[in-house]
């Protein structure tokens, strides 16, 4: 499907949530209101003409130093790809500085779990109902979110001891029936 047909299909299913669209060097990007993200994502995955089975990436962007930026501070770009149809799509969600949170997509795509943990770790975006929103790249005693524009690049933080992972292990064991 080409970009205009994609846009029409999504608009017809979610007229209120769609805020706008843009062309990113040949790939369609739709801006979506953050409350409607999960519904739009579900449509993208389940609708047979759209068939976006694969979540490629979740990119978190801090627009606070972007020249002439008038929107919210944080942006999240979700990149989707359809293997069956061959088209790509980007979905952009803007989040305000004081409450950067959005619903999780873990129930729809399995890799959203780790990708959202990375967005939380690096940018501080909270994902509501995420099963395990912990830091994934930085160590567990790290304070702050390094990819934010106000975090100085050479501010180093030492780690005193590796974390024991029993806190993550216990729920998993419980799922398997161990008490």
């Amino acid at each position: 499907m080409d970009a205009s047909a994609l846009l029409e299909t999504i608009k017809s299913k979610h007229p209120k949530t769609l805020l706008g669209s843009q062309d990113r060097f040949g790939v369609l990007e739709v801006s979506v209101d953050r409350t409607g993200l999960v519904d739009v994502a579900r449509t993208l995955r389940d609708e047979p003409e759209l068939a976006f089975e694969m979540l490629i990436d979740i990119v978190s962007i801090d627009y606070s130093q972007y020249p002439e930026w008038r929107g919210d501070r944080f942006g999240l770009t979700y990149l989707f790809k359809s293997l069956a149809k061959g088209h790509r799509l980007q979905v952009k969600v803007l989040l305000p500085e004081d409450a950067p949170s959005v619903n999780t997509l873990c129930q729809l795509w399995a890799n959203a779990n780790h990708l959202e943990r990375e967005a939380f770790d690096q940018m501080g975006i909270r994902f509501v109902s995420h099963p395990n929103l912990k830091r994934i790249l930085n160590h567990h005693e790290f304070i702050g979110h390094p990819l934010r524009k106000d975090y100085p690049i050479t501010q180093r933080q030492w780690l005193s001891a590796s974390q024991s992972l029993m806190d993550e292990m216990e729920p998993r064991l419980k799922e398997k029936g161990y008490t």
């Binding site: 962007i61 890799n111 930085n138 974390q163 029993m166 993550e168 292990m169 398997k176 161990y178």
Partner: protein
């Protein structure tokens, strides 16, 4: 996931007795982060019931070197050496991926000769990446000889890469707009000679491994993953193709004349470790075919675009007239300044779809660079892959999904 191992004999308190459901009777073991077979710094915290992994939790980030934050304080050209260290066993593919994204952002076409050189070095790097992956994987199984076969061939490829750009491993051979320098005169003949020794090493390894009883028992039907789960996890590359999905960016979204090359894409059936290893071995054969075709088709011409925004002028002009001097100065000091915008561009790296999201604000430094590493998605599925298997299977499964820590943690 493996079923419970069958007991070869009956015993009163052996494998046939009811399994304990008390978590205090499990043994908790860390595999990693300093472990010979973790291929990098990864940690898997396992709860073991005998040899079987009941539950596993992974931790990564032990090689998080701040690639993305570093990109924001360097110019576009200065990012290229950082991209080398992402997937360090096939460094030039990362260079090509990043430069391709920036060139698309600049609406720049590189000269044909540069495109063919990029294809040749990408495929050479794909070969050496698969060699490391399979060699390390077989090493974990105890087959050390294959490691030497592949590494000897690899040294010959390294000699060529070193003649091309000066470094064996971290090459930084591409530049935005083309290549850093042209290939040396005997390049085509030497590559063809090296490919013969690569084929020889591949043949030696296949002879040792293809019908080997131990190898088949250890890899067939071990840690399989279904097509649907692989797609849900965003797997791409050889691991996805091993599960039966024929998805290769070189065929689906071709770039750099890949649509003109005749090559097949090997696809597996079950998605077990056997399939993942053999998809890589057959991909090496296909890469050899592509390199032969690319070397034959390579045209003469410049290797760097003549677009004044990116190409350094020749030295006679830099020292000869003021326009050349200013052009050189502006490119070095003020950098390449693409128009403000956001782009995502992907290439088929050895591990899968390597993508770069670049946000530019019109200045010389990128505003945000995000690398989409293929092995991040592979690793996300790792607990699902190993729960229920034994420790030994988990070690080989980790090798089969080819985790390169530089790419995983960036």
């Amino acid at each position: 996931m493996r079923t419970e191992p069958q007991a070869p004999f009956e015993s009163s308190q052996g494998l046939n007795s009811p399994r304990p459901k008390d978590k205090r009777e499990l043994v908790y073991v860390n595999i990693g982060p300093s472990h010979p077979a973790t291929h990098g710094a990864l940690r898997t915290f396992c709860a073991l019931d005998g040899e079987t992994i009941v539950a596993a939790v992974m931790e990564q980030g032990y090689l998080h070197r701040g690639f993305e934050k570093d990109c924001e304080s360097h110019t576009f050209q200065q990012v290229i050496p950082y991209t080398d260290r992402l997937n360090y066993v096939s460094a030039m593919i990362n260079n090509v991926g990043f430069c391709k994204a920036v060139e698309r952002m600049l609406h720049l076409t590189i000269p044909d000769r540069a495109a063919y050189i990029r294809v040749v070095v990408s495929e050479l790097n794909r070969i050496i990446d698969h060699q490391v992956c399979v060699a390390a994987n077989l090493l974990d199984m105890g087959a050390l000889t294959n490691f030497w076969y592949f590494f000897n061939a690899r040294e010959k490829v390294y000699d060529i890469l070193e003649k091309l750009c000066g470094a064996r491993l971290t090459s930084s051979y591409t530049r935005i707009g083309g290549m850093a320098r042209d290939v040396y005169p005997q390049f085509a003949d030497e590559v063809k000679a090296v490919l013969k020794s690569v084929e020889q090493s591949l043949g030696d390894v296949l002879k040792l491994v293809e019908k080997n009883r131990i190898f088949l028992d250890r890899t067939r039907d071990v840690c399989p993953i279904s097509k649907e789960r692989a797609i849900a996890y965003g797997w791409t590359g050889p691991t996805l193709r091993a599960s039966g999905v024929e998805y290769d960016l070189r065929k689906v979204e071709p770039y750099y004349h890949y649509e003109d090359f005749k090559f097949e894409v090997p696809v597996g059936t079950k998605g077990d470790i056997y399939d993942r290893i053999f998809v890589r071995l057959y991909e090496m054969e296909e890469s050899i075919r592509i390199i032969h075709q690319a070397l034959d088709k390579m045209p003469q011409g410049p290797v760097m675009s003549d677009d004044k925004r990116v190409a350094l002028p020749p030295k006679q002009q830099t020292y000869g007239n003021i326009e050349g001097l200013m052009n050189h100065f502006k490119i070095i000091m003020h950098g390449i300044c693409p128009e403000p915008g956001e782009i995502y561009d992907a290439t088929e790296a050895a591990n899968g779809e390597l993508g770069f999201t670049i946000v530019s604000d019109g200045s010389k430094n990128p505003y945000r660079v995000k690398c989409r590493p293929p092995c991040f998605m592979n690793f996300a599925a790792f607990t699902e892959l190993i729960e229920g298997s034994m420790v030994a299977d988990a070690i080989i499964a980790l090798g089969s999904i080819n985790i390169i820590a530089g790419e995983l943690d960036r």
